[in-house]
Point group: none
Chain length 123, copies 4
């Protein structure tokens, strides 16, 4: 598992984990059917509580990204490639709508916003 935690972040730990894992699944870096490591193992690796990891796993499950089987482990859900793209877009859009409102509120025109993105996307 490739997870990094920033304790200084304002985001709760379980959400940081959720976002990183879900992004890896959506990008296809974690293959469908792959069995995630046991929550206790992840907890030990990250030096956090089992409960915190479990909460992240629960979020993944309730969003249909993984499938947990008691006694066997948690498996990445088999999604058709179309579904994968849909999931990615719906996650991106949900945030984008709010972000655009914010920048609009600050008085940025659409063009200014696009320019800034073109400028900073690389770094």
């Amino acid at each position: 598992m490739n997870i990094s935690i920033l304790p200084s972040s304002d985001k709760p730990i379980y959400q940081q984990i959720y976002e990183q894992i879900s992004a890896q699944i959506i990008r296809g870096e974690i293959a469908q059917g792959f069995c995630l490591p046991p929550i206790r193992t992840v907890a030990k690796e990250l030096r956090i509580s089992v409960i915190t990891v479990k909460k992240a796993w629960e979020e993944l499950e309730s969003n249909g990204l993984i499938n947990t089987m008691v006694g066997k482990g948690c498996f990445v859900s088999p999604l058709q490639s179309g579904e994968l793209g849909d999931k990615r877009n719906s996650m991106a859009l949900r945030k984008l709508m709010k972000d655009i409102e914010y920048y609009k509120g600050l008085g940025l025109t659409c063009q200014e916003l696009v320019d800034l993105i073109n400028q900073y996307y690389r770094s």
Copy 2:
């Protein structure tokens, strides 16, 4: 004061207020030197706690957007037009850097992101 609150939002109320007021100041809709209404008045109008309004005002002050004169009121800081634009940009940029990371993490290319913004900025 022109403030609208969404209690169902995931953002704390004080932050919703802060963002709206600061945006109005930066856009120049609230003039420099203008005296903001007393927090008790705002609280009554919005039907929220005084404490919540106070916290929003504190945020404004700590970001240099208003000056509190004890016993007289809170006044919009006199900023030169250049400073105003800087403020706007620095606020936008701070958020933009994080947002771009997120969309990148989801696997969106720069072009896809720009397309989505062009598509949704109008609505």
Copy 3:
């Protein structure tokens, strides 16, 4: 709150609570906009852990039945009467499909099943 817990049941406590509250909301016994009692109070009344109550509340929220506002409390979501009926039907149907399979598997005909229900629904 009108909640009764059977520790001897095979169902987890949080699920017993969830089912009872959701049923009351769906039946309209708990009015829309009603503020549920604080989880700590419920926990004390039922003599169970706060966490267990919270888990039930989380289920309610993720199913759109309540709306939690940090610092203020958890409120029954405003649902249009149509939505309420839909919710009821979808909850009933999800279970019914599985139940019918079971009785079919035992060899009960549709008529036998209906007869049994007509006979036992009253008691």
Copy 4:
């Protein structure tokens, strides 16, 4: 053996097996005195653990549906036809009482429930 397993089900695997075998016995599809295949064979066929099959067999035995003869195999108990019907009804009733409570709790009338069953029993 004619058993199908849904690993994604919320029911434990051993219970899925138990329900299917018991239903087949009660329907008379598996004759009295018939010798069930060795658990190791079943486990291999279904690609599951022997322990899981064993637990299903134990359930069958504790419900009086099979008799284990150490070293010889597990045989379907000889039941008189009357007993078979009784068994079927008692299994159906035990579950039905709980199910009816649930639908009643959701506010479904007896008639609505019967209508839904008439509608969905076929599919």
